[in-house]
Symmetry: C2
Subunit: 253 residues, 2 copies
């Protein structure tokens, strides 16, 4: 992808916090969901990191990512149990205090039956100083935004709802358009032609993703650009490249 295209990007990173992902017990689907969602609002996901439930690891990763990208989205570790240390880690990363947030206390206090708003549940109202709450319409315990960092729950349905709550707070950049075309070809058959297209259309990125399925193998080509005209011409070039080796282009999204 050319520097011209990159310069127009608003960038983001996702920081997934959770031993359960690193043990392989839970398949992270949040990153992929956020990636697609960000694409729609004109923000390009440029890095994903998954770190364990260890404060120093969260702090170091968050400070590296928030300095580098326009936005950082964290998922996980904001519940009521002892392994939920994200809020403290974020406060440490930003060098600010953390305390029971009045509005969060009010939301949670109203949510639980009398006597059930326990000390453990009150932990979920502990928010770094200066942060704004992110609404959680599902289970009430809020996320929060501090600086360029959005701190969200790890449970997918809750995270999805929190993303919708923050959509209006994001300023997107150039929206990257994409188009996929596949074919029953081998990468090695078309690599030279694809390299030539890559040179001919410097403002288009060309991805080449081979697959093996029960009914045969092939390659999906994914072209991405902020320029619709260049993208269309590049995709035409890929279709022709597939036909040139005797295969039929299969249109994707």
């Amino acid at each position: 992808m050319s520097e011209t295209v990159k310069a127009a990007f608003v960038t983001a990173a996702v920081l997934v916090i959770g031993d359960e992902i690193l043990s392989g017990r839970t398949q992270d689907t949040n990153s992929s969901y956020i990636a697609k969602w960000l694409g729609e609002v004109g923000v390009q996901l440029r890095e994903i990191r998954v770190v364990p439930d260890i404060q120093d690891e969260i702090v170091a990763a968050l400070n590296a990512l928030r300095a580098r990208y326009d936005y950082v989205f964290t998922t996980g570790g904001i519940g009521p149990t002892h392994d939920d240390i994200t809020a403290d880690a974020v406060a440490t990363a930003f060098g600010v205090g953390i305390d029971y947030h009045p509005q969060a206390m009010e939301i949670l206090g109203a949510h639980y039956a009398p006597g059930e708003f326990t000390a453990a549940r009150k932990r979920m109202a502990r928010i770094p100083d200066g942060a704004d709450l992110i609404e959680n319409p599902i289970s009430k315990a809020p996320g929060f935004k501090i600086g360029n960092v959005f701190v969200m729950a790890g449970i997918p349905v809750v995270m999805h709802a929190m993303l919708e709550s923050i959509r209006h707070r994001l300023v997107g950049g150039a929206r990257v358009l994409s188009k996929a075309v596949g074919g029953a070809v081998a990468e090695g058959q078309v690599a030279e032609a694809l390299g030539a297209l890559h040179v001919e259309f410097p403002d288009v990125s060309f991805g080449s993703y081979p697959y093996y399925r029960d009914n045969g193998y092939g390659v999906n080509f994914v072209m991405r650009s902020t320029d619709a005209k260049q993208l269309g011409e590049a995709v035409d070039g890929v279709r022709q490249m597939i036909r040139d080796v005797g295969a039929e282009p299969v249109e994707g999204n």
Copy 2:
């Protein structure tokens, strides 16, 4: 988890290379597969990073990870097309040259029909100086190992086969045992009891993962330890904790 347990760990990181993951088009399942596979051989996955197909990004991430963990596993970017830059990036990260590897040339030359071993396909035989090949029984183009870094394909079936090829090269550490128990409880109901167990069993890690499903909500508790006896006692404690709030423990794996 206590420092005692940590000290016995052999650690690893996964570096996923690929724009297709960052765009959300492709769901990364390789990290999760590697995580579980490593657990079986006594290696603990401690970090996952996903970076784009940009050489400087790959080099920086690889150098950060290989200095920090016992092993690094990369996936993606070793095919024949212009966006397959992993081998070059790894050579740059290690400060070594890269050239057509005689054995890789032989393997690939034997695989393709006469005249089909094109310049693009020969690119897949370019291996950093000093690296050992990793066998690819599926599509022949080899991965490689250099230092503590294992460079593998991104296509899941190929990556799985490569992992089996390298199993004998890994030296595992203490194997972490784990056991899951669930219950139809709310985290906030049991957070204090869980915190007490966490203190009582310092060599056991306690994870708490709430879920929302169509038929209700609950929490899965995952206990991990290298000590089978401590783990058993901790799991008994979690079962009791679930019963104490009027729910029935559901055994997991």
